[in-house]
Amino acid sequence: MEWIAVIGGKTRQFIQAVGDFACFASTAFGWIIRGPGSRAMRELLRQMFDMGTMSIPVVMITGAFIGAVLAIEAYPQFAAIGIASRLGSVIVVSVVKQTGPILTAVMLAGRVGGAMTAELGTMKVTEQIDALRAMACDPVRTLVVPRLLACIIMTPVLTVYSDALGIWGGWLIAVGVDGVRNYSFWHYAAAGTDMFTVNVGLIKSLIFGIVIASIACYKGFTCGNGARGVGRACTESFVASFILILLTNFIMAVMLNNFYNWFWPNQPSLL
């Protein structure tokens, strides 16, 4: 019967961690609504530069290669049924709606989320977070709010960069290598992409930004002692962010498609 106790204990720990995370995230959003304060706003600019500007090259490179690979894999299938000219549509919709937001989010979870967890975790184990509290300064307001806001703002911006390079990568292969006509590529790309498609990608990236920053900060604030504790928190932060990105992507895909079909029942999804 010992295994029942083990399962019960693990379940209780999980529920407690979810509750703690919910309290942590709601405290952060509470501060955003009440006003982050001038110190947090100054920190916000630094965070936007660190996590946004510094991430542009890696996000653009990732986007370009994914767009190119999409074109390489899709061209033979489309050519076989004589609709290779429509490659622009599938590349743009795939990049804008799915691969752009998800790959940008995964890159940020690794590059930015990991750094965030490591920085806050180190601050925790060196008692810097305690020092903030001891000086009557709310560490969530000072440390979490600027990171959360920066991630919410910069993830959609980076997604736009990734999308742009993804489309360029797809165009390069489709038009430059596979011989699709330039006019056809852009004509069908424009025909297949409406504002809803663009907005879906941006809404997703905004939610992913919230997921990445809130998990990374929570893991940093709750990490164990020593270098091992910080290292483990970084790993857990990435894994949890990655799983939640995929899960929220699935949920949003279902919800937003239903939303689309509900409001525009006579216009089938272009995918």
Partner: protein
């Protein structure tokens, strides 16, 4: 007047009139580890209380309870007669603004230069213009022998220098109480004596109440008005520096003389 001991709890106690901080039957444990076991202690106002005890006995934990960084499992803590262990983080803020805390490892903010670290609690308290803040920062750094380091980063300082900057930060806002967690650890003997003189000066000229956790017996006997010895989560001895020096308890004598116990020596000989 002899030192009060755990074996002889009815002996006279040192002056405890007008306590600024009071622990009343405080219990604290971390998992199976009992750290504070029914601690009852008065910290007299305008006096310096030194907490002694072996490493890991809960001295730093005791300090953290005063500013609400840790909460007791049971028992009560009072500051100026007001119960504080049940206050929210926001309710604790006015109290925290009147208490300076020197952390064991300094806990300087890595992302700020030395000057900004010292200025942090002053800015947090508000009411000072930049020129006044700069003047206070310069003055406090000069007091600890670190003037001219305002533009340096904490990473560029030695352990002892970090400790001195952290002390400047702890006293930056002229607090009513300063909690010193090992203030002389990592300092050379001369600099240690300067810190001891600073603790005495703060008490004599500004009526600052001090609570000092230390293993440095020279420092302890120099600055203490009251010495409290902890062992296994309990107070085993309490009195003035002179009373503790003359205390008959063998554990106390072994600690203040820095002698290993017979048991420790036997373990060494078994190697």
């Amino acid at each position: 007047m002899g030192a009060a001991t755990a074996d002889n709890p009815t002996t006279t106690k040192p002056e405890t009139t007008n306590p600024i901080i009071r622990f009343e039957n405080v219990h604290k444990r971390f998992g199976p580890l009992v750290v504070l076991d029914g601690m009852t202690l008065d910290i007299p106002q305008d006096r310096t209380t030194v907490i002694l005890g072996p490493s890991g006995v809960g001295k730093s934990v005791l300090l953290k309870h005063i500013v609400g960084l840790l909460r007791p499992d049971s028992g009560k803590i009072f500051y100026r007669g007001k119960q504080v262990d049940n206050l929210s983080e926001r309710e604790m803020e006015p109290i925290r603004k009147r208490i300076g805390f020197l952390f064991q490892l300094g806990a300087l903010f890595d992302s700020m230069r030395v000057g900004d670290n010292v200025a942090f609690p002053i800015r947090q308290q508000g009411g000072k213009n930049p020129a006044e803040i700069q003047e206070i920062v310069h003055e406090k750094l000069a007091v600890v022998g670190m003037d001219g380091t305002e533009k340096k980063w904490p990473a560029d300082l030695s352990g002892g220098q970090k400790k001195r900057v952290a002390l400047a930060r702890a006293i930056a806002m002229n607090p009513d109480v300063v909690l010193y967690d090992e203030p002389t650890t990592g300092l050379d003997p001369i600099r240690s004596d300067v810190i001891n003189e600073l603790i005495l000066k703060l008490k004599e000229e500004l009526n600052v109440t001090g609570v000092v956790v230390t293993h440095d017996m020279t420092s302890a006997f120099k600055v203490a008005d009251q010495v409290v010895m902890l062992f296994n989560g309990k107070i085993v001895s309490r009195g003035t520096a002179e009373e503790i020096r003359n205390c008959a308890d063998p554990n106390v004598q072994r600690f203040i003389q820095g002698r290993a116990s017979e048991e420790d020596l036997r373990a060494l000989h078994r190697m």
